[in-house]
Symmetry: C2
Subunit: 126 residues, 2 copies
DNA sequence: CGGTATCCATTTGGATACTG
DNA sequence: CAGTATCCAAATGGATACCG
């Protein structure tokens, strides 16, 4: 079908290797989850939930399961009542931190620049 | 609502600056589009389309419009028949390349590692 | 050539209720 | 505490036809 290179992984096709990266850490929640685990270390389910005020329980569970399946996050269950589940980054997960860090500061710069431009525009219109 | 920091930009709310980055370059197509424009320079609509064999015309147009609105891509229309439209990265767009580059090589490593692990598993099962 | 417009299928995500 | 299950709404994306 494709004239480009075709990479296959887990029944999915990619035309470029960073489609793989996007697939693993793209989406609304995954980068933030990884970021929190990377900067704060091991976190329990509800601790994560508090750090992501807008996520629903369903989404958090779902995203964590996917991250686990992709070997980016480690899930440790303590067999006790009430249950205790801890999440942390795997070694592979940690290797993503430099990328996320760059994305974070880029977003920061973009935000500041846009705010500055807005101030500029408002000042000029006076 | 949110106990975290709350950033607002263009009627959207973010709790962290890299949600902004994700919003701008996340999704299935944008990174690849930016990547092609960054590595190959100016491209016409149909040249881009050939580089992304699976994208539909609608999606390509849509993504390019969004990238343009976010000041990452420059759209230059030549007023002639048949039409000629050229796309290129803005200065801001270029600042994304180091991030995309890292994502690309990370995806590359991940792919190679997984393939290597697979070979290993197959070898052991013999 | 470089698009729009329309329609429709799939995917994603949210609200709510329930559970070991 | 850390989830499942179910249902439903919204967003995303693809096929197709048409246009200046």
């Amino acid at each position: 079908m494709s004239s480009n290179c075709n990479l296959q992984l887990k029944n999915k096709n990619y035309t470029c290797t960073f489609e793989i990266t996007i697939d693993l850490i793209g989406g609304k929640w995954k980068p933030v989850i990884i970021w929190h685990l990377g900067t704060k270390g091991t976190l329990r389910f509800n601790e994560l939930k508090k750090l992501l005020p807008h996520i629903t329980q369903k989404m958090l569970t779902q995203q964590l399961r996917e991250l686990e399946a992709d070997n980016l996050v480690l899930r440790k269950v303590y067999p006790q009542v009430p249950p205790k589940v801890e999440y942390s980054l795997t070694d592979l997960g940690h290797t993503l931190m430099p990328i996320l860090s760059m994305m974070c500061s880029w977003g920061d710069d973009y935000y500041k620049q846009l705010k500055a431009d807005l101030q500029q525009t408002m000042a000029e219109s006076e």
